[in-house]
């Protein structure tokens, strides 16, 4: 991997280097519930819109990556092609927990970097409906005789007996571990994250929910897994997003008005969790995010203070708070002060999740990692309407899926 120097005095993008990769077209559907459409409809709708946005067609694509978690194994990519164009190009159906969308983008990115493709389409889609809690056991009613099974020799499901496996609980524990290490972080700081993201979502016409709540309403809403209340948890829902990527070499030959709207991918990083002692019994969502961020900043030659906006993986309010620290947006250990100071609000020093985040914009899993790249791209183009961060030039999109996988993309506004 080429490594550029990390510097706060970063030079603006002046020309299109041949080996660079760019976002040419981008789209996301409204996130919500689609009872009359299926996942292929959602994927097709957003794929066609992203192609139109880049002023290209499916016949220009050399590669397609399609991401879904819950419909993995159903050949979403090929089913999408049958609706929008069967051109015979390689299709990668990808799944990587909540980092599925970012993995689809990175799959196309790598194909371009490898010189196999000049242009490619990455799509993420999910149809979840109202499915309630993800993960966690469902008790069996059949006749039972205890018999040790699996890697732990367990005689029954362990969820609820040896801690929780539900997502609000797992991420609550991640936040409370941070609170344990950093006094001054507690329920109120976590709740402020949700207050901010619900507030931000009122400006986003694509968000699943667009309602602001008071801090008190958030803290008083039903507890899911303390400290995460209902309004501090992302909803389930349906939606899709797509991006068209293009090589720098190919972009040079595109019309000026198309080039002008292209956004540079200055870093595309995917990590998994390295060995840590504590991650053997509960997911460690921090170490791999720290590793991904460090590599992304180094590769892009960008420092956290250069970021004009960040879309990070706020599946739960407790998660967003610790990622302020993991992504280096605040002083080490300073995530509580960071939210208390107002820094991640849209009028603060580092706006975070101005889309409303997963908490209010929604989290159709496979779409999420593409949708946050769409969000950054839209701001860097100056096309985000009422939620536009004025003059945005550099942004970062982060997702994490348990298991774990972390995707980070750093995007920069074109100066061509």
């Amino acid at each position: 991997m080429s490594q550029t120097q990390s510097s706060t005095s970063r030079k603006p993008v002046r020309k299109i280097s041949s080996d660079s990769v760019w976002v040419l077209g981008a789209d996301m559907t409204h996130f919500g519930r689609y009872e009359d459409q299926d996942i292929v409809d959602l994927a097709a709708q957003t794929a066609l819109a992203a192609l139109d946005d880049g002023n290209v067609s499916i016949h220009d694509m050399d590669v397609l990556a399609a991401g879904t978690l819950l419909k993995a194994g159903t050949s979403l990519g090929q089913r999408l092609q049958k609706q929008i164009g069967q051109t015979g190009i390689p299709v990668y159906n990808v799944t990587n927990a909540c980092a599925t969308g970012a993995t689809a983008i990175r799959t196309v990115y790598l194909a371009i970097k490898a010189g196999e493709a000049d242009m490619g389409l990455a799509v993420g889609a999910e149809q979840m409906g109202k499915m309630g809690l993800l993960a966690g056991a469902h008790s069996s009613k059949e006749k039972s005789v205890y018999e040790p099974k699996g890697r732990y020799g367990a005689v029954t499901s362990l969820d609820g007996y040896l801690g929780t496996e539900t997502m609000p609980g797992v991420f609550a524990q991640a936040g409370m571990e941070y609170a344990n290490e950093h006094p001054g972080v507690g329920f109120e700081q976590f709740a402020k994250v949700a207050y901010k993201n619900h507030l931000h979502s009122t400006r986003n016409p694509l968000a699943q929910y667009r309602k602001a709540f008071s801090l008190d309403e958030i803290m008083q809403s039903p507890t899911m897994s303390y400290p995460n209340t209902l309004l501090m948890c992302c909803p389930t829902g349906d939606g899709a997003a797509a991006v068209v990527l293009i090589s720098g070499e190919r972009l040079k030959s595109m019309p000026q008005d198309v080039r002008r709207r292209a956004v540079k991918i200055s870093a595309s990083v995917l990590t998994s969790d390295p060995y840590t002692e504590s991650s053997q019994v509960q997911p460690d969502v921090s170490t791999l995010t720290r590793n991904a961020a460090a590599l992304a900043y180094e590769t892009a030659g960008v420092a956290p203070e250069d970021l004009d906006l960040v879309e990070l993986h706020d599946c739960f309010a407790t998660a967003e708070l610790i990622h302020y620290d993991n992504l280096g947006l605040c002083e080490q250990g300073g995530a509580g002060d960071f939210i208390d100071s107002g820094a991640p609000f849209r009028d603060g020093s580092t706006p975070v999740n101005v889309s409303g985040g997963l908490i209010s914009k929604g989290h159709p899993i496979g779409a999420t990692g593409v949708a946050n790249v769409y969000e950054i791209t839209t701001h860097l183009r100056g096309e985000a309407g009422e939620r536009q961060i004025a003059g945005a030039k550099v942004g970062l999109a982060h997702v994490i899926g348990l298991g774990s996988a972390c995707g980070v993309h750093v995007l920069e506004k074109a100066a061509v």
Partner: protein
Amino acid sequence: MQIDPTPQIPLVDYLRLDKQPHLVANECTNCGARFFDRRNACAQCGLRQFTKVPIRNEAKLKSFTIVHRAAPGIPAPFVSAVVETKDGTTVRANVVNCDPNPDVVRLGMPLQLTTYCIGADDDGTEAVAFGYQPS
């Protein structure tokens, strides 16, 4: 007449129901990393030899959540926790014999391993789980 004791089985195979119940881990003989699951190789150093080691029963509360909304069939609320044992091993378990209230459950509080029956199967064998209670 002597009554046979009720047969028991541990919830997981790394719980040993001796006179003094305790956990055992697979410890890598090379780097000392500890694991509770069946191993193929060490996740830290990649080598393949392990030895069984007992884990201390004294622990402190490293993180917790109070689960109010659980999967069907799981009684709630309950305190789910990550604890660090006195010998530095991280364990996931419930905090038991403790009011599930954030004013009562305190980060860093000292805990002690305990066991309890979670039910019996159709042959009458009791499954025994472990948890940590305030000490």
